[in-house]
């Protein structure tokens, strides 16, 4: 059995075991029009890997216009919550030796001191992100000390917002495009074609921020531009996406975690 087949089988098995999806999560694929699920209380830190979703407030964005809560009342930072992280952490625990919390995840703002207890954070829809000074300072400290953030689920001109916001957070650093030769695509699975996904009908690209802008040094952040990996994770159980593409989303996500924890 090839590793990919194993992965597909594992996905199916894992999803069959996931009992935690809230019953209120009646959702409709496309455009993030799920009903907002009130987040559970954050579990107490216990040292295990815990998925951290970054919560942020949105302000009036002159360039993008005001885009508040979607029709289902789901704020952009919560897109794919909680299915995305639940499914992903379940798969992560099945396939890798990462000791991971599968039934709980954490939601924190960037200036929450608790964030520093979790070395990997995830932000959805950074096109809507308009951080205040405290959040800028919080994220800056988090990343410079050794934290790692994944930006996902955004497309088109959202990128320019992310780029601008990150230039506030780390003015001395900039995004550098990386390709499949970067070690992050070989930290667990050997991923030769990360562009294969097409969540937004565009070819996704991967951008990273490195210490001293040197791609050989530590990676502080990665942005899945024109991609939505958690969308694949969220819907991996019901056939919205092809299994092989879903598998790629899981593989890249696992690679990110292993890379972030070991480098």
């Amino acid at each position: 059995m090839t590793r990919i087949t194993m992965l597909a089988v594992s996905v199916a098995m894992a999803l069959a075991m996931v009992p935690v999806l809230p019953s209120t999560a009646s959702a409709q694929r496309g455009g993030g029009r799920e009903r907002f699920v009130e987040p559970e209380d954050n579990p107490r830190y216990d040292g295990r890997f815990t998925f951290v979703r970054v919560r942020y407030e949105m302000g009036l964005n002159s360039e993008f216009g005001f885009r508040g809560r979607g029709g289902g009342g789901l704020p952009p930072w919560a897109h794919d919550y909680p299915r995305g992280e639940r499914n992903f952490t379940q798969i992560l625990s099945e396939l890798a030796t990462v000791r991971v919390r599968t039934r709980e995840s954490v939601i924190l703002s960037l200036n929450d001191p608790e964030l520093t207890k979790y070395p990997v954070a995830y932000m959805s829809e950074p096109g809507f992100w308009t951080p205040n000074d405290a959040e800028v300072a919080g994220l800056r400290a988090y990343l410079l000390k050794g934290g790692f953030i994944i930006f996902d689920d955004f497309r088109g001109r959202d990128w320019f917002n992310l780029e601008q916001r990150m230039s506030q957070v780390l003015p001395e650093l900039r995004f550098v495009q990386i390709d499949a030769t970067h070690p992050i695509f070989d930290s667990f699975y050997r991923i030769t074609n990360p562009e294969v996904m097409n969540a937004y009908d565009a070819v996704p690209t991967y951008w990273a921020i490195f210490e001293e802008n040197d791609p050989r040094k530590r990676m502080l952040a990665i942005a899945n531009r024109d991609n939505d990996m958690s969308e694949y994770w969220e819907w991996s159980g019901n056939g919205f996406f092809a299994v092989d593409i879903t598998n790629e989303a899981y593989k890249i996500g696992i690679n990110y975690i292993i890379y972030a924890l070991s480098r």
Partner: protein, 759 residues
């Protein structure tokens, strides 16, 4: 007092000590017994008829008279003292003169100790003349070694060590075939040869050769600061926290301030202002030396001479530090991807002298190798042979269960510590210690904590501990987080808590805890960082699972280097004492030119098993660059140990290397350095150690004399049981004390009679 006693008892106490009292009656015993009875009867009759005195006075007078008569009768028993004494001019007397540097000190008069000794033992001195009338004198000078000398004059006071044991042993061996009547050792007793004195003393005692000791110098300086000892790291890795522990001996200088300076090759690398305590006679000061480049450095620690200080020579001390260039390779096996791995890797990456090779088991039988030297390193996962594992100087075990290893790999890991002498560090984690099933494995014995508690639940909550250094931890170099002790203590107080997920057992006997943690509301501490020596190596545990919080935590400033500093130092401490296959040592590492040096190599094969059949050759490079080969011989008494000697003729720094050949297996040792110079040394403990000299004399039947009283030697050395001796019987009846007692008895009797009107 001694002279009075000698007058009264006719012979000196020395003769009495060595002699044996015997009786040689001048008449048959029955006759003397009869006389004694007669004497009592005469006394009784004398006072029986006297009237006019009380019964008590009569009894006293009778007793006085009887005692006086009995004393006279006792003289007829002819008590004699039988004593062995040397036959004049038939015996040899060895005189050993201390020629070490401490003898150049001037601590009690206008002259140096050596000058006073030269004067007291000059050919023209009364003592030497008296001795040479009776003995053939053999002079020796000793310091690190013992050498014959023609006379006492011309002491150079140049030796860097005083090796009393070697001096006694050397003289005994040299005079083995001669009638040796005794040995006189003239020294200040500053024995720093590092040898056990007992065998040398016992050998002389067995031959009944008395050792007379003559002490030179003051037993206590009135005003002095001495750098008694400087303890330097033996062979630190470049960039290590270089701490020099300086012990100062203080005499009459309490409350004064001094400035202690350390220089490396003439460059100041540390200074410390010290206020000297008033009550203590010794104080320990820790100097933090600035970074030193790889190579050999000569370290000088000094303090300025205080006004009116008794001895200035002991205000300076020299030593050598050999800084290793590294890099030291350490294997980190982690069973699960976790932040601890990434943060430790980042911390160690800043240290060019360390190479952390990480093997991360990211899935079942799947590894991520980080920091490997080439594509072959650890290609098969965790090492399966000792040769492969022993190539690392340290091993870190992360959260990895015992079942991951084969039984042989577990045994190998225990042997890595026990046999190879490597440093093992086990980190806390959900698959570590008892939780990881290590109880009952060979590794359990190695750990400094007993795995005697029931494992905790695999997915249970973590226990938060506030962590602080213990007393031992406060002074441990690996836990120095800042440049000064107080700054370091402040950092420890400010660090946020970490968590543990393991049931921590008790500390093993012999293990040392350096960090302990206390949970909120608890009253007892749990070990967090503990170490124990196991065989040739050390095993350490760090029981917290998330030391990375000391970097990430919200309370820690971005630029704070605590986590990096701590891990660099912890990993360095793992490898610091990890030996190479051929380990070399020279003793002592500091000598005076012309003194001998012993080279000692410990040789092991690739599996670090001692090897006794290797051809081992040391190469000595002199300060002038000349190279000489010294073949080393197997020491016979100790497996894997080879020794040889050379004499350091030139002054300066020597480099000694060694190579071991055994078939096609060739292994070289890292070279070690040694200093030969004419300064310092042997003056660190320069006060006269009279108790030591008294002990040597007492154990061999000799006597101790201060130099000022050395003239008394001339009579005392005569009485010996060693050499060519004659036994003399000396009469005791004519001792002045006998007549004195007799006169006293009769005088008191007369006075009493007179007072009672009887005379």
């Amino acid at each position: 007092m001694d002279a009075v006693l000698t007058f009264l008892f006719k012979y000196s106490s020395r003769v009495w000590e060595r002699g044996e009292v015997v009786l040689s009656p001048v008449a048959p015993p029955w006759f003397i017994a009869g006389l004694a009875l007669l004497a009592i009867a005469v006394a009784a009759m004398t006072y029986h008829r006297v009237q006019g005195i009380s019964r008590m006075h009569r009894t006293i007078l009778l007793a006085l008279r009887a005692t006086a008569l009995l004393l006279l009768v006792a003289c007829l028993l002819r008590p004699r003292l039988v004593v062995a004494s040397a036959v004049p001019q038939r015996n040899v007397l060895a005189i050993l003169l201390d020629d070490s540097r401490s003898m150049a000190l001037n601590d009690g008069g206008a002259e140096s100790r050596a000058a006073r000794v030269e004067r007291a033992f000059a050919d023209s001195a009364a003592l030497v003349r008296a001795l040479s009338d009776r003995f053939a004198l053999r002079f020796y000078r000793f310091a690190a070694d013992v050498r014959p000398a023609a006379e006492a004059a011309g002491l150079r006071s140049a030796g860097t060590r005083t090796d009393l044991a070697r001096a006694l042993e050397g003289a005994r061996q040299e005079l083995a075939g001669t009638p040796l009547a005794g040995v006189i050792v003239v020294t200040d007793g500053a024995d720093n040869g590092g040898r056990d004195l007992e065998p040398a003393v016992l050998a002389l005692r067995a031959r009944k050769v008395p050792v007379h000791t003559v002490g030179v110098g003051l037993e206590r300086f009135p005003r002095d600061v001495a750098i008694e000892r400087v303890s330097l790291p033996a062979r630190p890795l470049v960039g290590a926290n270089l701490l020099a522990d300086v012990t100062l001996r203080l005499r009459g200088v309490g409350g004064e301030r001094i400035r202690l300076t350390a220089e490396a090759d003439g460059r100041v690398v540390a200074t410390e202002e010290v206020t000297l305590p008033s009550r203590e006679e010794s104080v320990r000061v820790r100097l933090r030396l600035a970074d030193l480049a790889p190579g050999t450095h000569r370290i000088t620690v000094r303090t300025p001479v205080l006004p009116r200080e008794t001895v200035a020579e002991n205000n300076e001390s020299h030593g050598i530090v050999q800084v290793r260039g590294g890099p030291d390779r350490v294997l980190y096996l982690e069973g699960e991807p976790r932040a601890e791995l990434g943060f430790i890797r980042r911390a160690i990456a800043t240290d060019s002298a360390l190479q952390l090779v990480a093997l991360l088991r990211s899935a079942e039988r799947k590894y991520l190798r980080l920091g490997v030297r080439d594509s072959l390193e650890l290609a098969g996962g965790f090492p399966t042979t000792r040769q492969e594992l022993y190539a690392y100087r340290g091993v870190i075990l992360g959260s990895i269960e015992a079942a991951f290893f084969t039984p042989d790999q577990l045994r190998m890991l225990a042997d890595f510590v026990n046999q190879r002498g490597g440093g093992l560090l086990a980190l806390g984690g959900r698959a570590a210690f008892a939780e990881g099933g290590f109880r009952g494995t060979p590794l359990a014995e190695v750990m400094p904590l007993a795995l005697d508690r029931a494992p905790r639940e695999a997915e249970g909550p973590a226990l938060e501990l506030r962590i602080r250094p213990t007393v031992a931890g406060t002074s441990a170099p690996a836990l120095q987080l800042r440049a000064s002790d107080t700054a370091s203590a402040r950092v420890w107080d400010s660090l946020p808590p970490l968590t543990v997920v393991n049931a921590l057992g008790s500390l093993r006997p012999g293990a040392t805890a350096y960090l302990t943690g206390r949970a909120e509301g608890e009253t007892t501490d749990q070990p967090v960082l503990a170490t124990q020596r196991f065989g040739r190596g050390t095993a350490t545990v760090f029981t917290a699972q998330d030391s990375w919080l000391w970097k990430m935590h919200a309370d820690i400033p971005v630029e704070d280097a605590t986590h990096v500093t701590l891990w660099r130092q912890l990993v360095r401490s793992l490898t610091e004492e990890s030996p190479d296959r051929v380990e070399l040592a020279v003793t002592p590492d500091r000598v005076a030119p012309g003194e001998p040096v012993e080279i000692r190599a410990r040789v092991a094969d690739e599996q670090y098993l001692d090897v006794n059949d290797a051809a081992v050759t040391a190469t000595v490079r002199t300060p002038s660059g000349r190279e000489a080969e010294v073949p080393l011989e197997w020491a016979l008494t100790e497996n894997g140990v080879y020794t040889g000697r050379f004499v350091a003729e030139e002054a300066g720094v020597y480099a000694v290397g060694a190579e071991s050949r055994r078939g096609r297996d060739v292994a070289a040792a890292r070279s070690v350095a040694m200093l030969a110079d004419d300064q310092g040394a042997d003056v660190e403990q320069a006060e006269l150690r009279a108790p030591l000299l008294q002990r040597i004399a007492r154990e061999t039947g000799g006597r101790y004399y201060p130099l000022a009283e050395a003239e008394r030697l001339s009579d005392d050395v005569l009485y010996t049981e060693s050499g060519v001796t004659v036994r003399e019987a000396l009469d005791l009846w004519d001792m002045p004390v006998v007549f004195l007692v007799l006169a006293t008895l009769l005088g008191v009797e007369w006075a009493l009679r007179r007072s009672r009107g009887l005379a």
